[in-house]
Symmetry: C2
Subunit: 382 residues, 2 copies
């Protein structure tokens, strides 16, 4: 295997692991901040690292269109281009070509599409996607797949999944093994158990360095997602990392880790940070809400991010009302810090064999909700 | 005097000084980054300090409207609100009420206006402006003045200046002296030498902790600005700091320091940083320009800011083309770092008695312009 992965501990299905790539080590379960266009939005790379993130995600679709994969390769690869010296996973472009591009035409070999930026005609195939990810210098390359729309009938999901499986095999052939670099296959099959099992079996037969589960968190709901994981995860090789793509809220991540997932990515913490939403142990806050305007308390006690250590909720509210960039910067940093704190909590609990207790505490805190009133409106301090 | 100011060295008219406020010391000549709405746009306070800035500016007009001066006072003052522990100068609102508000009505006592944010009716007078700046907790409070439009006839400029002088006297009476806090008067009079001299004389008779020169950099051009300084500065008390408001480009600052100015503020470095403009020793660059897209070189060799130490021009260009917040963050930081480096250069040269040489070097470098071509297009390295 070109990516070393070792399992350090487990609690029931949940695993505490370590993935070693050409650009460094990733302690799992891990959350990967999304750096779509060669930047984790509103964050300096050093600030991303300061939150504890060890690996970030880049997007083949965005980067092939702007600034271009060949340009990034000439400039020394994506690590140098964005000044992120740690591991990078790139997605294959399969998801974005369906969600962002115009005038798509799928054939057995790949997808023709028009750039959403300049209308230029482009083509992605399994081999082209692998080659672009090589030019970017990805530590972890993702197979090119068709993202099955949701909802899909069983027949639609089967056809789509089987196309993705043929593409996965072509990608595997196109991928050149190098130490510290690996290729992940992506399980598809919508919410249909037999299709998920067929997809997992097919990918395992081909053989990948890791296995992703795609096509979830697309509207099926947490229950259906967890049910799909319950079926799919046991069908994947135990000695390889498992990556749940595009998930999710903290509670989704906790449940997925309990079901044996090792890696996650999601735009939620960064996107929420640009729309006044903050994640906390007590649930989500909207800092735009007027109830924060006189609140001298930090966003979240005990958080190490600069939004919490250096500023009040009143100030964050003011920045958001004033459309100040610093508001997006601080809330993005906070959310990424919080996601990493959740992952740290999960890793520690798995090591200690206390994951069930930790998860119960997590859900209990979350259910309490934020204390809406100001301290001096809480009644006399007794 | 409530603000200690000592002169450490001088070269002809230029002065190297030290201003001691309640929140710390300012080495002069100093450039003050503008923090209009309680934030230096796109910068964490710690990053502002990292550039070497020792004092920042806040805006009475913006802050009285949002979030409100009383709210900021309840929350512990502007220093705590924005988490800037160093000195803060607040402007009086005189300039912004004329440039930003709606339905203004000036009378002998002050200005009635409508908020540009919510249309609410507001009034500013010399005493109200002083009181708001006290609520904010300013180390340096500015007199409330009428900003004379440019161009103005001699008669218009005289009427406007004399109104500002009456307001300056009322402000002086309303200001309560406290250790480490001071009130600055503002010289007006447009480009008319006799009016500038009359204004300087009037303010000196009233007596202020520092003297600002207002109403410049409004379209009169560098030559007229320098001519006005040549007339005005010698008429100001030598033992008090002199502040040229709203200036300017680095070359303006160098010329003004040579004419005896100690303090500057300008939105240029921060605003330019949000519009792809970068200041360098070799002049200004537009990073949006396609000539940067393959350029692996740093924006400016030798600069300590993260844009220059960690990224290429190609990457900065990509961020700007992609409308990424990180582009604004990095260029703002660079520009503020460059302005502070200019001030450091000026201070060192005054101390060493080499200001004329330094200024000649500065203008020579500036005149060279940026090297547009890539290194490998420069011909063989010999």
């Amino acid at each position: 295997m070109t990516l070393a992965f070792s399992l350090l501990a487990n609690t029931h299905a949940a695993r505490r692991g370590r993935l070693v790539t050409a650009h460094g080590t990733v302690e799992t379960p891990a959350f990967m901040p999304v750096g779509t266009a060669a930047t984790v939005k509103a964050m300096l790379p050093a600030s991303v690292a300061a939150t504890g993130a060890q690996i970030v995600l880049g997007n083949t679709y965005h980067l092939m269109l702007r600034p271009g994969a060949e340009r990034i390769e000439r400039l020394g690869g994506l690590h140098r281009f964005m000044n992120w010296p740690g591991p990078i996973l790139t997605d294959s472009g399969g998801f974005q070509v369906m969600s962002l591009s115009k005038l798509r035409q799928i054939d057995a070999g790949g997808v023709d599409f028009q750039s959403h930026i300049d209308g230029s005609r482009q083509r992605l195939t399994p081999a082209i996607s692998i080659e672009i990810q090589r030019q970017l210098g990805a530590d972890i390359t993702m197979s090119f797949d068709e993202c099955t729309p949701f909802p899909a009938t069983h027949a639609q999901a089967a056809t789509s999944m089987r196309l993705s499986m043929r593409w996965a095999e072509r990608g595997r052939q196109a991928f050149t093994a190098r130490p510290g670099h690996g290729l992940f296959g992506i399980v598809q099959g919508s919410v249909y158990e037999d299709l998920r099992l067929e997809s997992a079996r097919t990918l395992t037969e081909i053989g990948f360095d890791g296995y992703a589960i795609g096509g979830l968190a697309v509207g099926e709901g947490q229950e259906a997602m967890f049910r799909t994981l319950d079926v799919t995860v046991p069908a994947l090789p135990a000695d390889r990392p498992r990556y749940l793509m595009g998930v999710g809220r903290p509670a989704d991540i906790v449940g997925a880790v309990q079901r044996g997932i090792d890696m996650f990515d999601c735009v939620m913490p960064t996107r929420a940070g640009r729309t006044a939403q903050a994640f906390t142990w007590r649930g989500e806050l909207n800092l735009r809400n007027a109830r924060h305007r006189d609140d001298p308390r930090p966003l979240m006690e005990g958080c190490a991010c600069p939004a919490c250590t250096s500023h009040s909720r009143a100030y964050l509210h003011h920045l958001i009302k004033s459309d100040e960039i610093l508001g997006a910067m601080l809330l993005t940093w906070h959310n990424l810090q919080f996601y990493q704190d959740v992952m740290r909590g999960l890793r520690t609990a798995i090591e200690a064999g206390t994951l069930a207790d930790w998860a119960a505490w997590f859900h209990e805190e979350h259910a309490k909700g934020d204390i809406a009133a100001l301290p001096d409106a809480d009644g006399p301090a007794t």
